[in-house]
């Protein structure tokens, strides 16, 4: 049964997946206009795909990469809230305004994905306003320990908390937040099922369970929360049980109890298990068989078989496959190691850590 699953595995269509993302980087049709307010995140998934496939240097030109780096830096803003990245210039006018507009502010998810995108593009980070980023983090943390996406409001949930944690870990400086309050918030999102909801009281969800687990492992020890006591062994067992339960009979993971499998949760649940040191509990042959079927005939990977592909599901599927290499497959399935806590290839994450770290200037 198991052997049959991997024998019938189609090749990983590396070239078409790369082309799918390359095409998105060069432009999107108007039907994708909603992406304008999260364009850097989309860029991260496209560039991340090329990075995972090891084709950034061959599929893009030096001048394209330079233009993207410049464009990304143009999204860095400086103002009363500190410094961060905005999603795109969709609210930026062609005449320079004297002050930062209240309606064109930086965004925490965009700041995290901008830093990772710049690392993929091997930027030297000489333009990074480190004290500004710390100030930005401080202006986004709320009284309950959570972070809002923007200093003047917007969504506040575990996804944003995770971004603040990764940014602090890249800076190797946690003075931008009250770590104990943030950890307490993460713990309040724990649900009776074992996974974590998007906010306190929320239903357990694969993506936010990843955010919670990664955050708990990223934050340094504090007197109130020594890292070795952050998750009790019974809590850890409950999370593992819930995550393992999410692998469906099709081989892919679902995001919630009794929902259908979706390619992105192969990463969110699979990576969370890996962080918890329980990665060997995943049936990786079944996982690869599911993701193999999610490959879209015109390139890219979709959330489920016979759906349309997008860069988000393409990147996360490849990242999942990089963690869970199917055995006995041909070299089309070879992918580099990933840094599961920061969600990038090990090389890119290392580049980011070495150059973003504060105090190096």
């Amino acid at each position: 049964m198991k052997a049959a699953a991997s024998e019938s595995l189609p090749p990983l269509a590396r070239n078409s997946h790369a082309m799918h993302c390359k095409l998105c980087l060069s432009g999107l049709p108007f039907s994708q206009v909603e992406m304008d307010s999260s364009r850097i995140a989309l860029g991260f998934y496209c560039l991340g795909t090329l990075d995972l496939l090891g084709v950034l240097e061959t599929k893009t030109t030096p001048s394209e990469r330079e233009a993207w780096r410049n464009w990304l830096w143009e999204q860095q803003t400086h103002g009363r809230y500190g410094s961060g990245f905005k999603p795109s210039p969709y609210m930026t006018s062609d005449i320079l305004l004297d002050e930062e507009s209240e309606f064109d502010t930086p965004h925490l998810i965009m700041t995290y994905t901008a830093l990772m995108s710049l690392a993929i593009l091997r930027d030297d980070f000489s333009k990074l306003d480190r004290p500004g980023i710390l100030k930005f983090l401080r202006s986004c943390q709320r009284g309950d320990g959570s972070f809002s996406a923007s200093p003047n409001g917007g969504e506040a949930d575990l996804r944003i908390v995770y971004c603040a944690f990764v940014i602090s870990s890249l800076l190797d400086d946690w003075s931008g937040m009250n770590v104990d309050a943030a950890i307490a918030y993460v713990q309040r999102c724990s649900s009776y099922e074992g996974g974590y909801g998007q906010t306190p009281f929320g239903e357990a969800l694969g993506g936010t369970t990843y955010c919670a687990v990664a955050s708990l492992y990223l934050a340094p020890s504090t007197p109130l929360s020594p890292i070795e006591h952050r998750l009790s062994s019974s809590e850890r067992s409950r999370i593992i049980r819930w995550l393992v339960q999410k692998q469906t009979s099709l081989g892919g993971f679902s995001g919630r109890t009794a929902k259908a499998a979706d390619a992105c949760y192969c990463f969110w649940c699979g990576a969370a298990l890996n962080i918890l040191g329980a990665g060997d509990l995943v049936d990786s042959a079944a996982l690869a068989s599911f993701l193999g079927k999610c490959q879209y005939q015109f390139g890219g990977i979709s959330k489920a078989p016979s759906e349309r592909a997008d860069p988000y599901h393409t990147y996360l599927s490849l990242a999942a496959l990089a963690i869970y290499k199917p055995k006995g497959t041909n070299e089309s399935w070879e992918l580099p190691q990933v840094d599961v806590l920061r969600n990038a290839t090990v090389d890119t994450a290392l580049w980011a850590r070495n150059r973003i770290r504060a105090g190096e200037v």
Partner: protein, 334 residues
Amino acid sequence: MYDFSEVEPLYAERPDWADVTPLQQYQGVDPLAPINYSTEYQDATDYFRGIVKTGEISLRVLQLTEHIIRMNPGHYSAWQYRYRILLALQLPLEEELRLMDQYAIDFLKTYQVWHHRRLLLGALRSVDAAAAELEFVARALDTDEKNYHTWSYRQWILAHFNDEARLWAGERAWVEHMVERDVRNNSAWHHRFFIVWGSGMRVGDEDRERTLKRELMYVKEKIALAPNNPSAWNYLRGILEHTHTPFSTQAIFVQLYTTSASTPGDVFDLDNPPPSASAVLPCENALEFLADIYEQEGGAQISKAIEIWRSLADEHDTMRRKYWEYRIKGASQT
């Protein structure tokens, strides 16, 4: 809904907008993933950027934001500006909520639509409005009964108005109806946990022992109806853990579901409803539960737990073989 494109010319051609200087979007260096804007969208957002610079607060700008949101419900700044106008002009927020009803159904998956409602309801501080919102959420769940935004909005409303008995009064009956509709809807089970256990004590639920008894009865009836339903089993485990009740208190019930054939007893035991005749047995969740009981009891019972995990690994749940072997290893070590 109002179709702006059919009736109105571009803002650039409208005399009533001639006093506004449109501001084009900054282009600069070669952009990453540029969007091919339609003329209508470009025109509207040029005027919106112009408005944001002057800070104009007016009804025509309110309409402009609606126009933009219709084309791009993810336009965060248009939502923000819209909310500012509503407050500044002291416009009736209930009316805005009703306008949002159609938006929410059209853009169920867009976060901003739900965030806007929260802001409105938070500003209104009206229990009547909150009650109307609960009704709206119920209708929205008819369209998409597991939508995460919709359920979290309902939980937010209830938590925000935590002391309003009137809002809470019908909640358990309502969520029972949702479980009735689909006994496998995990969002509904989660919501039940939230209202009974997660959010503080409700009137009538002060006697926690009685509440636990009622909840056990409820979930076991639902398991009897559809034994292979992880949502119900997770609820059962959840309430036992929450109340620090040992799993072993449910041993008799669980064992009805771990044998391969249903054996109807002579006397129907209300506390331990048996599976229906058509149930597919043994039930994996019940096997797991029984093994957990044995593991908690420890000592000689561990071998019984291991036997069950073995059967799950080899026969009943081979996909999770490594997990069951990990459980065997864990129990063997202690």
